[in-house]
Amino acid sequence: MIALLIRDMRLAMRAGGGFGLGLAFFLLVAVLVPLGVGPESATLAKIAPGILWVGALLACLLSLDRLFALDFEDGSLDLLVTAPIPLEGVVAIKALAHWAVTGLPLTLVAPVLGILLNLPDAGFYWLVVSLLLGTPALSMIGAFGAALTVGLKRGGLLLSLLVLPLYVPTLIFGAEVVKRGAEGMATSTPLALLAAITAGASALLPFAAAAAIRINLR
């Protein structure tokens, strides 16, 4: 399983893996929003938590369709299904690899973009904490969506239609943590709920995703 993790991360980071694309997209969102809403720092400070979370979510979505599609095309997914390790584990590992090359870097660059968007000082810590806790859920839910659409020719757009409604609770709690943190309020409730979503998603969704892959490969 560790070998699979390393293989997936390597594939994603080397040429053609689209590793930097998500980050570049995140940066672009953070640049385009002030151009759209105007440069007043008070307005930006107010919307920064939401914009950063929405940007991270969309950047995460961008690379989801490659999660299983490449392995499906060259047949290695068939080998993984028949491999001695359970398919649920494969799905979880692939989601983890996806998180390590998208969610984790997004979390690390988010504070820099927070400066661009004039995020209040108190918010930076909570931004990193909430993204660190929340992005694994995004990868795991996304893996489920990718598993549903793996056999389809034009799965990309359908994937976003399926996955975005599933992202709603994560987004709400994640952005709420940063908003409350930036305003200096208590954050433990939304933070606990966000962590609960991540824990629940990583515990249960591998089974649903593995079922979807088995159906698609039938």
């Binding site: 549903l148 239609l161 399926l162 409604p165 599933l166 709603v168 709920l193 979807a212 159906i215």
Partner: protein, 242 residues
């Protein structure tokens, strides 16, 4: 004699052919009667004026929008566990109906909200969760459309329906947490002495019955259509072989 006998398409077609006219007639009667009673036979509310009468469309549609999803969940579970094709087709047939009810609830709510709240739309928890419910319906229908093989499509949408139900429920509570609402509390609950004044309550009950029957009619009709189109495809395939 058990309920599962009607999982046989032949049996289902026979039964639904006999039942359908009655259900359809009862639905038309209830809807016409309930709406006419509601619109012409009840007084205006002292605060809301005549706009209160939109309740006869809004509340039943909203109820059925949620119940349709629950029915799809049940049908999906039956399909995934017992592999009855009629069940999968019924879930497929219910989705557009549920989406339409969701949109009716949203539209009538907007029409009522404009004069009463002074706005067509507010990011209120109930309104937001209905919008999200509409998105879930859209995704579900899009997945049915996108997969060519009918059995694969039924399996995938079944899995999506189960996971979607959990997330729809989560979203419902998340938006509650996220924003305090304008929307009034539940209009109807079983544990209250009186929900709304009796003059409005009885026509409302008739309208709810009408919407339930309408949903039943449409789902039966659409399931029959789906079964027929399956048979047609099978015939065409046989023709091509021979």
């Amino acid at each position: 004699m058990s309920l599962w006998e009607y999982a046989n398409p032949q049996k289902f077609m026979q039964l639904s052919r006999r039942v359908l006219p009655f259900v359809a007639a009862a639905s038309v009667l209830c809807l016409l009667g309930g709406l006419a009673w509601g619109f012409f036979g009840t007084p205006d509310d002292y605060k809301q004026g005549s706009t209160v009468k939109i309740i006869y469309l809004h509340v039943p549609a909203a109820m059925m929008a949620i119940n349709a999803w629950v029915m799809m969940l049940a049908a999906s579970l039956v399909w995934l566990i017992r592999r009855h094709h009629v069940s999968a087709l019924a879930a497929k047939a219910a989705a557009p109906v549920g989406l339409t009810f969701t949109l009716i609830a949203l539209a009538t709510g907007a029409l009522w909200g404009q004069p009463m709240w002074g706005t067509w739309w507010a990011w209120d928890p109930r309104l937001t969760s209905f919008l999200i419910l509409a998105l879930f319906y859209l995704g579900y229908m899009a997945l049915w459309q996108a997969v060519d093989d009918p059995d694969t499509a039924a399996d995938l949408t079944g899995v999506l329906c189960i996971v979607g139900s959990v997330f729809a429920l989560l979203s419902r509570y998340a938006v509650n947490f996220w924003n305090q609402g304008l929307h009034q509390g539940a209009s109807l609950s079983l544990d209250k002495e009186e929900n709304v004044a009796d003059v409005f309550w009885f026509p409302l009950l008739v309208c709810i019955a009408g919407f339930v029957l309408l949903f039943l009619t449409l789902v039966l009709l659409r399931t029959r259509t789906e079964i027929r189109s399956r048979r047609l495809n099978a015939l065409l395939a046989r023709e091509r072989m021979g």
